[in-house]
Each structure stands twice: as C-alpha cells, then as structure tokens.
C-alpha cells in the first residue's frame, strides 16, 4: 500500500506502508544508529516523534522479547529506506512488521531517508504527517502544520508509570558470594519515561529500586526514605513539565541525585538554568563526549531535542563536567557543593556503546559518601 509523508514546510515524500495503516503525526527526527531499532522503537523518549533511520536496511534481525526498553512502542511513526521482510538472528521471535502491527505503529519504507535527513539538517526538525489514508497532500500538509509538536508540551504524562512499582518486581536472589557486604541502596527513579536498561544498570549494582510516577510530590518521595534519586530520561520539552522541576528543586538539598537526558534538563531548570531547542537534536550512538576532568573521550548514545544552555548556569555553584565534541553543547554538569550530577547522554546505552556505564557506579559512590 502507498503511504505519504507530508512535512509542515510542504515537502512530500512518497513510499510504501508497512506495519500498521492509518494516519499519524509528530516531529520528524533522524537517528544515526546502524543497529538497535527495537530499543529505539520502545524508548519512551520518542513519544511525539516520527523516527527516520539513516541506516537504510532495517528489520534484518527481527525483534525479541528481551530487547524492549519499556512496556510498549512509543514512537509515533517509523521511516526507513528498506524494511526487511525476513528476520535472521538466533534471538529473533517476530518480524519488525509484526511488531509494528501489534502495537499499531505506522511504518513507511522506500523513502529516500538520506534526502529527508539532509532536509532536516538544513531546515531543522519539523512537524509532519504520515498517512496511508489519502493522497491529498494539501490536506496532509495542513494537518502537519496544526499538529501539536513538541515545544512546551507535557509528553511525560503519556509515558510515565501510572503507579509506583519496584524493580526488579521480585527481588532476584543474588548468586552466592556476590552479595555485597553493605546493604543495597534504596534508589527512587522518577519516571519521566525511563528505559529498562537504566533500572537494570542500577539493579546490577545491588540497588533496591522504586519507580515513581512523574507527578509524585517531593514529600511523598522523602517519606519513602530513599538513599538517592535518579531523574530519568523522557520525551519532549523540559519546559512542559514545570511540576517535575518544582519537585526536583525541593529535593535538591535533601538527597544525592543523578539526572539522565531529560533528567539533566529538569535538573538544569531546577538549578536556575535555561533550556533551548536544538536545530535537529542529537539522536544516535556515535557522539563523542569529552570528560573535562580526565580529558578522555567517550562514544555516547544520545537522544534529545532540547539542551541546557551552558551560559545560563551559575558557575559558582555548578561545574561543567562534559561537553559534546561535535557542537560543544553541554553534556554533563555537577553541583560543586551538593551531591548532584547529571549527563545529557545515555550511560545506559541500549542501543549503543557502553563507554559510560561507569557513571552508575559514580552515582552509587556518591550515595555511599553522603550516607556515611
């Protein structure tokens, strides 16, 4: 079946439908990871976005139950050059097409994804509609223009957990001899759209994790007597979630805190900084980030359209710890007096390189230091 992408600036791409049929809208972004489409599709941070894969062949290794990064698919639509009708990998359980159909996500293939990517690079990320229902491009362009977009919008409420839960659901018995001498720390994860691998990384370090909905109040969080707080990744504009900024501000002086991606932006706002929208964002698994303390470069996973403005931060209290070597944007910060730090990239990877996994250990080290 034919399908069309109509961009709000009037640009049209024609292709074929795969996955679900129908009509969908969102902001078009491109992701440069060559592998990991299943993790991308299930990453809640993609709520509100139509994801274009720059690698042309997608679906080759199928999908499986273990590579989900959340409970379902959150992208609004999926754009590829050629989707693979066959899936070949020993872990494969289903094809990509079956997965998209099951979760009612519209896919479009036979798109010149490089031309689309170039267009976004030059003109900036923009709103668009994918449709299998009509060939009336004029009406689709109008629909794209009037679709809600990302700016100022609260997308977190659509992806955050509805209720408090513990992870792992039932405590995993640690193999004998591996149990750490000290008790595992109680970590509360504020769920702005958390990826499972963040929970897995903390769990591997012996943490007892409680995931709370984004609107949980500071008092309620404190009443659970956690040892530390992780501010998770999540979709959209940090300006759309003032309630989260307020909660974080109240918790700042009370608990060790680690922010990831949207978590860093919310923290940045709570610390009095400003955020802004990047032209086309960072979405991929090959971004070089420099740790300013060690001067070492890590290849990081990124997925964000907004960023904390380096100049807006009060340098008396806040130290810049990481910068992006491609465009010199802020990648990490640390409070000089409080046990609080954050990064703009995804140390939990999935998909992408594992260079920054050690940051979870830093977080645990920070909790240990402040709890002793």
């Amino acid at each position: 079946m034919r399908a069309i992408i109509a961009l709000e600036d009037g640009t049209i791409f024609r292709g074929n439908s795969f996955g679900a049929e129908g009509e969908t809208s969102g902001e078009v972004v491109f992701n440069t990871s060559m592998m990991g489409y299943q993790e991308i599709l299930t990453d809640p941070s993609y709520k509100g976005q139509l994801v274009t894969m720059t690698y042309p062949l997608i679906g080759n290794y199928g999908v499986n139950r273990k590579d989900f990064e959340s409970r379902k698919l959150f992208v609004e639509g999926f754009i590829v050059k050629e989707y693979s009708k066959t899936a070949s990998n020993w872990r494969s359980e289903k094809t990509l097409d079956e997965l998209l159909k099951k979760y009612n996500i519209i896919g479009i293939e036979s798109i010149d994804t490089r031309a689309l990517t170039r267009h976004i690079r030059l003109a900036g990320a923009m709103k668009a509609v994918i449709s299998t229902k009509t060939v009336n491009t004029k009406s689709l362009i109008e629909k794209a223009k009037y679709s809600p977009g990302l700016v100022g919008r609260d997308l977190v409420k659509d992806v955050t957990s509805k209720k408090i839960y513990e992870y792992p659901p039932s405590p995993l018995p640690l193999p004998q001899g591996e149990r750490t001498k000290e008790r595992g720390f109680n970590v509360i994860v504020m769920d702005f759209g958390v990826k499972y691998n963040i929970l897995k990384c903390l769990s591997k370090l012996g943490c007892k994790i409680t995931v709370v909905p984004a609107k949980t109040s500071a008092d309620e969080i404190l009443s659970m007597r956690p040892d530390g707080i992780l501010l998770s990744n999540g979709p959209g504009d940090p300006a759309g979630v003032p309630y989260a900024v307020e909660t974080v501000r109240k918790l700042l002086h009370r608990l060790p805190m680690f922010g990831i991606c949207l978590g860093q932006q919310i923290l940045g706002l709570a610390l009095g900084g400003k955020t802004y929208k990047l032209k086309f964002g960072h979405h991929g698994g090959n971004h070089p980030v420099k740790d300013l303390k060690t001067n070492k470069v890590e290849i990081t996973v990124q997925n964000h359209g907004f960023c904390v403005d380096i100049d807006s931060l009060n340098k008396e209290d806040i130290e810049i710890t990481h910068i992006n070597l491609n465009d010199r944007t802020l990648e990490g910060l640390r409070h000089k007096k409080l046990p609080v730090f954050s990064v703009q990239f995804h140390p939990e990877a999935s998909p992408g390189p594992h260079d920054s996994l050690h940051l979870f250990e830093n977080f645990i080290g920070m909790i240990r230091k402040s709890s002793s």
Partner: protein, 544 residues
C-alpha cells in the same frame, strides 16, 4: 596531547612485492602515512623493495631505499640514517615480521630506535598464537578449544583430544599461508607437516573447527590517551572456513542485534588494550555460533590491514592517515575529521549505505591450484561497491569484477540440481552464482542456507532478486511501468540485464528508462549519515 617534538627522523617499512594476501592496499596506506609524517615536519626514510609503487615516488619520502626488505639491509639503513623511530604498522605483515627480527637481534636497541604505533611486546602478543591465547584467557575471552604443537607427534596427540574437523594454523606466516581445515587423520598428517614447515618458528595451533559459524571483523583505533573507537564492522557473507580475503564481505554488520554488536565492541576494546597496541588501527576477527550466539575471538592484526583499506573506503575515515598522526603523539580528539571539518576524528563513523566487497580470482592463470576456497587466501584482488540496498551493492560489485557478467545474470543452467547442491556446500569462487541457480530451480531459502551455511538473510536478498526477475519474465510489458523500472534499478539490475530479461537491447532499455524519468541520484560518503555537512567530493550513484 600535541605532536611529539622529541623525534625528528622516522623510518617507514613498506610491504614490498605484490603477492597474494598483500597487494596494493599497503601502498595506499603507506603513502598516506608518509605524506602525514612529512607534512608534520618529520624527516621520512622509506624502505620498499617494490619500485612500481606510489610510495616509492621520489616526493613521498625524504629518502627512499629500494632494497630488499630484510633485517640485514634494514640494519645497514638504520646504521647510516640513524632514525629516531621506526613505524612498522603500515607495511603489512612483511614489515611486522622484519621488525620482530630486528628487535630480536637487538638492532633496535643498539641504535636506539624507538618503535611507534605498536611496541614489540604488542606485536608478539598479537602475532604469536600462544601468547595471543594466553592474553585472551587473561581477559576472559571465549576462544575455540585449541592446543599448540611443535612436531607431528604432538600434533596428532592434540587432534585426538579436540576431534575432527580441526583447523591447523602455523604461527608467523603471511596471508594465512599454510593454514587449513582437516577432516580426517590422513589429511591432517599432510597438512600439519606443511604448516610446521611454513611457520617461521616451527609452531602450529590445532583448533576446534568453527567452520560454518558467522564471521565478523571490527576495525578499531586507539590513541595514547587510551581513547578507543570502532571505525567499521564487517560481516562475512561466507561463513567461517573461508579466508576473509576470499570471502564476500559486507559493511556494516547486517544480522546482529545491538546487544550482540555491543558485546563484540566491548570485546574488541578489551582485546586492543590487553594486546597493548598503543596507537593506530587494529583489525579484530570474531566468530558467532548462529545456533546460540556464542562469540569467540579468532585473531587480531596489530597493524593497518587489508580490511583497514576496505574500511577506510567504506566509511570515509582515513585509517592509515589517522594511524600515522596517532603514532606521532596526537590524540583522536585533536585530529579533525577531513570530511566534515568541524567534527573530530574521535567518533564512530555511521554509514547510510551498504558496502559489498567481492574478491577477484584468476584460477585460469593457476591451473594447478584447487579452486575450492579454504583458510589460505587465493584471490588476487577485490572490488568494492556502494549502494542503498544489499541487492544493489551485490549486483554492482559483480559487474565490477570484469568477469563478463552484468550482475547476477539470468543464465542457462548447465548443471543438474544435485551438482548445484554439492557446489553450494564447498565454498568456491562461483558459489554466489550457484546460490542463484539453486533458487531459480526452486530450492527454498532455508535449503540453500542449510547447504551453504550462509545466513538466511543474505540468501533471502538473492531470492528477492530472482523473484523480481521472474515477475519481469512473466510480463515483459512491466518495464513500461516507471515504478517497476525504478524497483529493478534499486535492486541493482543494469540496463543490459533488464534488456536480457525483457528481450530488448541495452540501448532500448536505457532510452525507455530515461523517458520514464528513472535516473540515478548521487549520494556522498560522509562518515556521518548526512548529520553534518561534508566537504569531500566522494560519491556513489543509486536510485531513489
């Protein structure tokens, strides 16, 4: 870290004559490296016995010695030139081997020549199979079960423990020479003796056969700050058992999930650190059991290799050039990416196309040679193609081989199905065509994959080519449909192939295609999937 100022004169060893396993790619990498060193203000002394190279052009180095690449001659050059450093990692296996001898004889110590790129301990750890095995065990890498032997008796004892089939690998050789797969004791005796003879130190490794497993390579770069990046992943179309130089290979890897790929990436980083290659590129090979995902490390080249040349062209990342810069002290983040200019070399290229390499054989020139492909390299060259689908790249590459084919042509099949089946099981230079014949004759994708042990995904791609051919053969008027014509071109069919199928001439098809507006577009190779502007005019054609 800035460029080193404590050194002035650098000796570079080229790769010498063109032989199977070591061809002009080392001229390319060596020339790149010399240019970098010269432009950085170093005095470059070059030795290469092959005057028919670009590298030996007078302007490449400050002084060029066209002399045999032997330890004796190099010692004389060192005595006369007194270089501060020796760069051994861009002249292929020849340069590494001769460097090892120079070090063992104490020549480097005697004249105070420092090795840059890779130290002698790293070279030995990577090249000596025993040291390599021990190093891998230290970092808990899974390896095929194996044992060393120094004579025939020990070899036979070893194979009795491991069981057939086994791979016999001699230590310190060129282009995998002498290594072979043995299926029974008669074969084994002969092969083990040959291998013992061809090893420079009379040592062989007898190894659990992982023939039929999936084979991968990663190109890795490291700098003095211990930053490590992966330049390119390569998946072999032909499974384990065929020398990588004789395999059809594809970049990037096609059938790995991110979990498996990252596991491999982590392993590669651990390997380069443990072996201790301080700066520059290395090539690390892995095998994966397609049944359960077990991954083993096979080997590592602590130098610019044949695959580095492919990875450079496939990604736009100039491995040899960057390796030379790293050797003289720069770190990856200090070197700009030539293509984007604004971003640093400390990143991992992402590509938005598919690269296929096909080796070129000339068995007609070697009538004595057995044309079955094994772990010893037999091809004399290779072609590389770029396309937006695997099907397009594959057909382009076949066209590029100059073997009078226009792609995966529709041909009259001369062999019986049984003959074709047997040709699928034994790797050979025409297996790619036999896969197509088998599919044409109605074998299923699974059947072909089982016989050839080639991944289903690749066979399925060829099946899609066959299917599209069949659509056209049934209804030749379809070529008038521009959408269908576009699809043919996206599948990599040339005008002459389409003509053959539609009973028209190449010219007629070309005219028809142009009339229906199906024209190629040109896309650039930019290391970054169009994320940044690129400044290097390096393009390929495709159809969108």
């Amino acid at each position: 870290m800035p460029r080193r100022t404590d050194i002035k004169k650098i000796l570079v060893i080229g790769s010498g004559p063109i032989v199977i396993g070591q061809a002009c790619e080392f001229d390319y990498s060596g020339t790149q490296a010399c240019k970098v060193l010269k432009s950085e203000g170093f005095e470059v002394v070059l030795i290469n016995s092959n005057p028919a190279t670009i590298m030996t052009d007078p302007e490449t180095a400050d002084r060029t010695y066209i002399e045999p690449i032997t330890p004796e001659i190099i010692e004389k050059i060192i005595e006369r030139e007194r270089p501060d450093c020796l760069l051994p990692t861009i002249g292929g296996q020849t340069a590494l081997n001769v460097t090892t001898v120079l070090s063992d004889r104490g020549v480097l110590d005697k004249y105070g020549v420092e090795l840059i790129g890779a130290k002698i301990s790293a070279i030995k750890k990577a090249e000596d199979r025993k040291l390599f095995k021990e190093a891998m065990q230290r970092i808990n890498m899974d390896l095929p079960v194996s044992g060393f032997a120094y004579d025939l008796k020990q070899s036979i004892e070893g194979v009795e423990k491991i069981g057939f089939p086994v791979i016999i690998r001699p230590s310190f050789t060129l282009g995998g020479a002498g290594s072979a797969v043995a299926y029974n004791i008669e074969e084994f005796r002969k092969m083990a003796q040959t291998a013992l003879d061809s090893s420079m130190i009379g040592e062989i490794l007898i190894e659990e056969s992982i023939v039929g497993w999936k084979e991968y390579e990663l190109e890795v770069m490291r700098d003095l700050n211990d930053n490590v990046v992966i330049i390119c992943s390569i998946e072999n179309f032909d499974p384990m058992g065929v020398h990588t130089g004789d395999s059809i290979t594809v970049a990037p890897a096609q059938t790995l999930t991110d979990k498996e790929y990252q596991n491999m990436r982590d392993a590669a980083i651990k390997v380069i650190r443990e072996i201790g290659v301080e700066t520059g590129g290395s090539n690390i090979q892995f095998a994966i059991n397609p049944e359960n995902g077990r991954m083993v490390v096979i080997e590592m080249n602590p130098r610019v290799s044949r695959s580095s040349a492919l990875a450079s062209k496939a990604t736009g990342f100039p491995i040899a050039k960057i390796a030379a810069k790293l050797a003289i002290g720069y770190s990856l983040d200090e070197i700009p990416n030539d293509i984007t200019k604004k971003t640093p070399a400390s990143f991992e290229p992402t590509i938005d196309y598919v690269v296929v390499k096909i080796p070129r054989f000339t068995f007609e020139k070697f009538p004595e040679a057995n044309s079955a492909l094994t772990t010893s390299m037999k091809s004399v060259g290779e072609v590389m193609s770029i396309g937006r689908t695997f099907k397009e790249s594959l057909q382009k590459a076949i066209r590029g081989l100059e073997i009078k084919r226009h792609g995966l042509d529709r041909e009259k099949i001369k062999d019986s199905l049984e003959e074709i089946k047997s040709k699928l099981t034994i790797p050979n230079c025409s297996r790619i065509f036999n896969i197509k014949y088998a599919l044409q004759l109605g074998l299923t994708v699974d059947e072909v994959a089982t016989l050839s042990k080639i991944d289903n995904w690749f066979i399925y791609q060829i099946k899609e080519i066959v299917d599209l051919e069949n659509v056209l053969r049934k209804n030749r008027d379809k070529i008038k449909n521009s959408e269908f014509m576009k699809k043919l071109k996206q599948y990599g069919f040339s005008d002459s192939q389409i003509g053959q199928l539609a009973n028209k001439t190449e010219k007629q098809i070309r005219a028809l295609r142009i009339k229906s507006g199906v024209l190629p577009v040109y896309k650039s190779v930019d290391t970054c999937g169009a994320e940044f502007e690129s400044y290097t005019p390096y393009y390929y054609s495709t159809y969108e």
